[in-house]
Symmetry: C2
Subunit: 112 residues, 2 copies
DNA sequence: ACACTATCTCTACAAAATAGAGAACGGAAA
DNA sequence: TTTCCGTTCTCTATTTTGTAGAGATAGTGT
């Protein structure tokens, strides 16, 4: 995490997706949810590179799924947030709240 | 701004500081406020590099202050957010709200 | 003219974000 | 059982963002 106490924007979103999906989170499901919420496409490379970084920082852990899942394709690698990851999310939110405190932006115009 | 519709974390903080400080924002005042809110030191290099990038993306504009400010030192360069910058802040906030929607994190333990 | 001070600029590098191609795995089809 | 095929992961490479620190600059005051 940077000196400001706020983690990278994409790292944060990936971490939040892990919190939301619990034990079921793996590459493709993470990407799908990210795309839904962002309203835009996200590459697998972006997702996995970020997961790798989070893992090497010990904010998440991963395990390879059971071979017999009665399903085609390569076994999934499932990801879970660790307590340290939750703490970084909390910290990030706290600092950002201080940054936004008292800010008033005009409402974006409604598409008519 | 990234494909996810969320801008970089430091860029966002700098932009917010500009909104807050209005016409009075310049390198040193921006850094001071960033440090106060983050609770950590921030280098001038970090601030100026970010301001330059924001300017080249036409999210902020800058002007050199009046020479006669009855003050020693090099003239200040003042920075102001442009409407495009405000829109990016709004967009960033909107996407992030969707990302955080429904997330429940345990309260961080109070230092006793 | 000279020193002093506040501020800015430059260079360099580390970390994060992103794309795209391709490899691996294992069920299904033949 | 051999080949095919869909799913998921891995690797390489590039761009963007974040950060530090030294040093150049433009004025004020002496």
């Amino acid at each position: 995490m940077g000196k400001t106490g706020v983690m990278g924007a994409f790292e944060e979103m990936v971490l939040l997706t892990l919190v939301r999906q619990g034990e079921a989170a793996y590459g493709v499901s993470i990407r799908r949810e990210l795309e839904e919420r962002a309203g835009n496409s996200v590459s697998m490379g972006a997702v996995y590179a970020t997961l790798d970084r989070l893992e090497s920082k010990a904010l998440v852990r991963s395990r390879v799924g059971e071979e017999r899942e009665s399903r085609r394709g390569r076994p999934r690698r499932y990801y879970t947030v660790l307590p340290a990851g939750v703490r970084e999310l909390q910290q990030t939110r706290a600092v950002r709240e201080r940054m936004w405190a008292g800010i008033e932006l005009d409402q974006p115009a409604e598409p008519s």
